[in-house]
């Protein structure tokens, strides 16, 4: 053994350390990979040794190799070994390696839970620190849940070094385990005022991150942050706070008003550019939020723009960049003030710095008008030609499209110009945005009817030109435009001048080198084209010509039939057969053109992208119901058929010609028409608004300039848009002349009458009439579309889970999970069996804090109702008016009620989660959402009238009897006490097990001795048994898992199994312990009686009125009632008492009458109808068990009697 150790340490001397490894790699430049694989083999040997130092060294080297891109996940277990080393030196290496390589998929990560917990509670602050740092990088939902409570305790550590780390890591915990946010938030808030600036900054940091995602929940912190902003001198903290305010102001314009002044002061006073910049940014945010309803703060805007101009003109490129960035924010609401700096921005477009050019581009977007659009785009096009990098060029391309297409092509006066710009853009090599151009072409061609003829001629030229096809693989992106070109030429083939020529172009063999989805469009549109040619020929009586075209089709289509792409192949073979059939008919001299073109009859209208989603669900249709019972497991999910067709394909209805004979075709067509007529989603060919528009030209309308298109358009490859610029100028000039003429005429008329102020004829945007009859067809929406604003929300957003109302009081069920003593459920998972030693050291502290926290929560409960008013008060600049004479208690009761139902909803959600896992209950959730929306709505509606707000602000003092506050109550009741110890307990039903309750006993040491060796022995009854560790007898005591130093309290939890819950019962028990002080130790005992009331078997479960009504109607429930006299308490508080003590929830409340509901752990329904008379309360109950009901009512009577 000794020899082995010596050998080990000798080996170690020859081991490579990190430096040797690095040196080695540097010396093996030629065969680096080989050398490293050698080293990895060595490392694997080292990891097999027992010596922890050797292992640590190996892991350290692995971390280096990880940086070079080597996967080290195979060593995860060894990393954990090194993490658990007792020496800080090694531990640190282990945690570093873990933080670099562990992630949610690392399976051994669950083994770390106990090690991390141990390190978190280590006496050495650096062990704790290193564990926190490591954990922050690889925390998983499981780790977050198991360690949340330990970390929360660390937030109040004595060392600021640990506190700040604990505070920061909480953000990661929240993200992974959102349930922890509410319980931890009060302490987090407390840390905003921590004496240590580092901790404070960490807390600000975390809250800012949280608030950035869900700002509305943090509005109530505004006064606190305001205080910090005006008092703090730490620029870092100030920046964060100011950024936070930027996120909050859009929600509360009054906040903005309050901020303007201090921010303006900061702007003038600070020398730190970073702070100045953030101030300007937030002022901008404020101005944006104010711009809707407030008089212009033109001075502030001027100040901002002026400061930004200084930044942009600065020689420091960083400031220039940021200046432009901020400028673009102003642009949205105050475009005028930015437009005056157009010169500066155009200048930035020529900057050598790409980042700056990109920002300048952003600004351009808001600067265009009908007048300057062509000019600006022209400038951009020259940039496109000059640009070297593809990224910048692509950015230019998207910008051009963005600028032109913004707000429904508002600024485009000449669509021919725009189409030619698009065509010019197709000449860009290697762009990724071919599909963007294609989408624009399609959009314009479909929505601007007047341009179709022109578009078609351009597109056929595109189809004809070889350059797009040339090497479709290299130019992958740009060939997408052929998709649009083919479709436009096919769909609007009636406008084609030489359809035959285009048809040939589309049937070229080169086409088969295009991507599958484009070929598919080709194939489909070839038929459309073919149909229209056929019609032409037949009308002209050229039977031979028609047959020639058919022959062409029959000859060329087989090249697509052989395609490897399924879609192309399928379409091509269908069409080929159809054409062959036509050929047969043609041979018999049967006219077919009518029938063939009927295949594509009807017009396509644009449909709004959201239209499908907005179709209301018809009444009585349950989308969640199974149509057929689900098949057995054998058909698992991954066998689900994949979508075969491309998404884009779905834009148009699919025409599937088949081999069926004409009759069959006709029949199907008929059926289809019928179906279309009934189908709300089908885009009908019936008269659409644009037609009417066309028929009635505008009164002011100016005749369209005739442009001889045929000449330039036949020559693809030349930039053409320029000529449109010229033409457009001429047109505008003429237009102006004409207008002037008319004006003169009018003037002459006016001269006859009164003399008018001669206003200079300024050419404004509105004066420029578009050249085409532009009917920008609005997109169709289904009838009675549902208004919904949730379209944009991404259900997978991880931050959505953190959208939690933090002002609601904490419910019991929301406490962070703590290690429970022998809760039968938890003891199953091995990682929770923590050795006693580690628990002892930290538990007392934790419990103490928990207690405090509870106290705080109670206070908060009281404050809650005031809270909203507090913020209002703080925000209102005028002093609050004297209490209104008329008592207005109604809204606030409402509010209480809201808060309550909401809280219960929340509570239920937390509790109900396990259930949800087993069987999804979409209905329930929907309800909850509705409810939330409703309450939100209520809140909003309350906020709207600014005047009434202050009035509603302080009815709390009005002394209306309804407003009286409940004294803080605890669900913990006294169990027993003596001079040494006080026991209080709370009994909660367990949701998971239908016959178990958890008894939480808080033991408080009131003596000056240490209490140890505590044991709890309870005499089981036939009906109730305590869950004991396996193997221990009924008569053995169960040890309490902690010791109590003087003055400390802690909580232990025990699980009891109950047979029948219809009756209350009592269990006798004894707590024995050793009290030890300086003088010695004594054995002590304390007897107690555990009282299991029937109420303690109830679990607060919300119920909706419809379900409640059904329950009552079912007739399965037996009934009983009580009446209590001499009640003076308000009804509101009365209900609160019943909810609190007897675990009920309010279903509905009307005046002084309320229905309530609860469920027992064994599933009994309990319904109550509570009515308040003058001085009495009557409670009618219905329950599936009569004994339970009568016992419950007795208990309730006792509670009410105290009121």
């Amino acid at each position: 053994m000794a020899l082995k150790m010596v050998k080990g340490s000798i080996d170690r001397m020859f081991d490579k350390n990190l430096q040797d490894l690095v040196r080695g790699i540097r010396n093996h430049k030629e065969d680096e990979a080989k050398y490293i694989s050698q080293c990895i083999d060595e490392i694997k040997q080292e990891l097999k040794q027992d010596n922890i130092a050797v292992k640590a060294n190996a892991v350290c080297k692995l971390t280096y190799l990880q940086m070079l891109g080597y996967d080290i996940s195979w060593a995860a277990f060894n990393i954990i070994e090194v993490m658990s080393a007792s020496k800080f030196t090694f531990k640190r290496i282990g945690y570093l390696a873990a933080s670099q390589s562990f992630h949610e998929g690392t399976d051994v990560i669950m083994l770390t839970t106990n090690q991390i917990r141990k390190d978190l509670s280590s006496p050495s602050q650096y062990d704790t620190g290193v564990a926190l740092t490591g954990l922050s990088c690889f925390v998983t939902p499981d780790l977050a849940r198991d360690l949340a409570n330990d970390i929360m305790t660390l937030m109040s550590h004595t060392k600021p070094y640990i506190r700040k780390k604990a505070v920061l890591i909480m953000y990661k915990v929240f993200l992974k385990y959102p349930e922890s946010l509410r319980p931890a938030f009060p302490r987090l808030k407390e840390k905003l005022e921590d004496p240590d600036p580092g901790v404070q900054s960490a807390a600000v940091n975390v809250i800012c991150e949280l608030a950035r995602r869900n700002p509305k929940n943090y509005l109530s912190l505004a006064p606190l942050f305001f205080k910090l902003m005006t008092s703090s001198t730490n620029n870092w903290v100030l920046i964060k706070i100011i950024k936070l305010f930027g996120a909050l102001t859009p929600l509360e314009p009054r906040l903005g008003k309050k901020l303007i002044e201090p921010l303006t002061n900061l702007i003038h006073s600070t020398s730190a550019m970073s702070l100045l910049y953030e101030c300007v940014n937030t002022v901008i945010a404020v101005l944006i939020s104010l711009s809707s309803g407030m008089p212009n703060h033109s001075a502030s805007i001027q100040l901002c723009v002026q400061k930004l101009r200084i930044l942009i003109e600065d020689s420091d490129q960083n400031l220039k960049y940021l200046g432009l960035l901020a400028m673009s924010k102003i642009l949205k609401t105050h475009p005028k003030s930015v437009q005056s700096h157009k010169d500066l921005i155009l200048q930035c477009l020529d900057d050598k710095d790409e980042s700056i050019r990109l920002r300048a581009l952003d600004l351009l977007y808001g600067m265009v008008s009908k007048k300057n659009l062509m000019e600006i785009v022209k400038k951009l096009m020259t940039h496109v030609d000059k640009a070297e990098g593809t990224t910048y060029r692509d950015e230019l391309l998207t910008k051009i499209i963005d600028i032109c297409s913004q707000s429904n092509y508002q600024y485009i006066t000449n669509f021919e110009w725009y189409i030619s710009i698009l065509v010019e853009l197709t000449r860009l090599e290697g762009t990724r945005h071919g599909h963007l151009i294609a989408a624009q072409m399609l959009d314009v061609a479909i929505r601007v009817k007047a341009i179709r003829k022109f578009a078609v001629s351009q597109m056929s030229a595109l189809l004809d030109s070889a350059h797009l096809l040339a090497s479709s693989t290299q130019r992958n992106g740009i060939c997408e435009v052929l998709y649009a070109a083919a479709w436009i030429c096919g769909e609007f083939s009636e406008h084609l001048q030489e359809p035959h020529h285009t048809l040939e172009a589309m049937l070229r063999p080169r086409v088969t080198t295009l991507p599958g989805h484009i070929q598919a469009v080709y194939v489909q549109n070839v038929v459309k084209l073919y149909a229209s040619i056929l019609q032409q020929k037949e009308q002209a009586g050229e039977a031979e010509g028609a047959q020639a075209v058919t022959q062409l089709m029959v000859d060329r289509l087989p090249q697509f039939v052989q395609s490897a792409d399924l879609e192309v192949q399928e379409r091509a073979s269908c069409i080929l057969q159809l054409v062959k059939h036509i050929q047969k008919l043609q041979a018999k001299d049967v006219p077919v053109a009518e029938e063939v073109s009927a295949l594509f009859a009807g017009e396509l209208n644009p449909v709004a992208p959201k239209a499908q989603k907005k179709v209301p669900v018809p009444e009585g249709l349950d989308l969640d119901a199974w149509i057929n019972e689900p098949l057995s497991d054998s058909e698992s999910e991954d066998e689900r058929p994949r979508a075969v067709f491309h998404e884009e394909e779905q834009r148009r209805p699919k025409h599937r010609p088949s081999e069926a004979d004409e009759e069959e075709l006709a029949r199907r067509r008929e059926a289809r028409k019928q179906e279309q007529a009934n189908n709300p989603f089908y885009i009908k060919s019936s008269p659409s608004p644009q037609k009417r528009y066309q028929d009635t030209p505008g009164v002011e309308h100016i005749p369209v300039v005739q442009i001889d298109l045929s000449v330039p358009l036949k020559v693809p490859g030349l930039p053409m848009s320029d000529q449109y610029v010229k033409l457009e100028e001429e047109r505008r000039h003429r237009q102006k002349l004409e207008k002037d003429k008319r004006r003169k005429k009018r003037k002459e008329k006016e001269k006859k009458g009164k003399r008018r102020h001669s206003s200079l004829p300024t050419e404004s945007d509105e004066d420029i009439a578009p050249a085409q009859q532009v009917d920008i067809v609005t997109e169709e929406m289904p009838e009675n579309a549902l208004p919904s604003d949730e379209d944009d929300k991404d259900p997978n957003d991880p931050y959505r889970a953190l959208d939690i109302d933090l002002d609601k009081p904490l419910a019991d069920s929301e406490k962070l999970p703590i290690q429970k003593h022998r809760n039968t459920e938890t003891s199953k998972s091995p990682e929770k069996d923590v050795p006693m030693v580690e628990k002892k050291s930290k538990k007392p502290k934790k419990k103490e804090k928990k207690h405090k926290e509870k106290e705080r929560d109670k206070e908060k409960k009281k404050e809650k109702e005031k809270k909203a008013e507090d913020l209002d008060f703080w925000l209102s600049t005028t002093p609050p008016p004297a209490p209104a004479p008329a008592p207005a208690p109604v809204p606030s009761t409402d509010e209480c009620e809201d808060a309550k139902t909401e809280a219960q909803g929340e509570e239920d959600d937390a509790e109900g989660q396990d259930q949800d896992k087993k069987s999804p209950k979409p209905k329930k959730k929907k309800h909850r959402k509705e409810k939330e929306e409703r309450t939100k709505g209520k809140k909003k509606s309350k906020k709207q009238p600014p005047g009434s707000e202050e009035a509603a602000g302080e009815p709390v003092q009005n002394g209306a009897p309804e407003e009286e506050q409940l004294p803080p109550e605890s669900s913990y009741s006294l169990l027993a006490e003596n001079s040494y110890v006080k026991m209080t307990c709370d009994i909660r039903g367990s949701l998971q097990e239908d016959s178990q309750v958890t008894v939480a006993i808080v033991l408080e040491n009131r003596s000056s001795s240490i209490l140890k060796g505590m044991e709890l022995s309870v005499l089981d009854s036939l009906n109730a048994r305590m869950a004991r560790p396996q193997g221990s007898s009924v008569h053995d005591g169960v040890p309490v898992p902690f010791q109590l130093p003087p003055g400390v309290s802690n909580e232990a939890q025990y699980v009891f199994t109950i047979q029948s819950i219809v009756m209350a019962q009592k269990l006798k028990g004894t707590l024995s312990f050793i009290a030890k002080n300086d003088e010695g130790a004594t054995h002590e005992k304390l007897d107690f009686r555990l009282h299991f009331s029937c109420s303690s078997y109830l679990i607060t479960t919300p119920c909706y009125s419809d379900a409640f009504a059904k329950l009552l109607e079912s007739g399965d429930l037996s009934m009983s009632s009580i009446k209590v006299d001499g009640i003076r308490m308000s009804f509101q508080n009365l209900l609160a008492k019943i909810c609190f003590h007897h675990h009920f929830s309010v279903v509905e409340r009307v005046d002084s009458c309320a229905s309530m509901y609860s469920r027992s752990i064994q599933g009994h329904h309990v319904c109550l109808l509570v009515k308040k008379g003058e001085n009495s309360v009557s409670v009618d109950g219905k329950c599936s068990d009569s004994t339970l009901l009568s016992n419950l009512l007795e208990e309730m009577k006792a509670t009410l009697a105290k009121c």
């Binding site: 040196r23 640190r92 960049y321």
Partner: protein, 156 residues
């Protein structure tokens, strides 16, 4: 939030790679390479912010970097961070390295990657700024080094 902190030299050799969001190793290398190419083509006298990394983040993210002699320090951050603030932070980080290594040069980073990580851990934790005060950072690092040394003596 800071998404990633990368340090590499003028030839794109990584000297420190710290991601605060999980990426597989080969993607990490790709990101380093891409970032290097983005940064490399920029002159020293143009701005220190840049957008357009395709692999990391998205439109909300920015690369903020500083170039010192042979090394690039690149922070990838989202919009909750102040751009100028991060530039200052890079400066703090580099100055701290300078203090801890006494005139830091690329070789220090090459041979002591672990130490550089430990220093960084005192500045940024889990993607959030932990400490910006250099004296405080240095004090904590020195205390940990002392602790390490005392353990070493016990070992000997």
């Amino acid at each position: 939030m800071i998404q990633a902190i990368l340090v590499f030299n003028n030839h794109g050799k990584p000297r420190l790679v710290r991601f605060y969001q999980r990426f597989p190793e080969e993607i990490q290398q790709q990101i380093v390479r891409e970032t290097f190419h983005l940064v490399l083509k920029r002159d020293d006298n143009i701005c220190n912010f840049l957008e357009g990394g395709s692999l990391i983040g998205g439109s909300d993210y920015k690369l903020i970097y500083r170039h010192y002699a042979t090394l690039y320090f690149v922070f990838c951050v989202d919009s909750s961070e102040s751009e100028l603030g991060i530039l200052d932070l890079i400066q703090v980080f580099v100055e701290t390295l300078d203090k801890c290594f006494e005139n830091v040069c690329e070789l220090d980073l090459i041979f002591h990657m672990d130490k550089v990580h430990y220093i960084l851990q005192e500045v940024v934790m889990g993607g959030m700024v932990l400490e910006t005060n250099m004296n405080e950072i240095v004090a904590q690092i020195e205390a940990q080094n002392r602790l390490e040394k005392s353990e070493d003596q016990v070992l000997a």
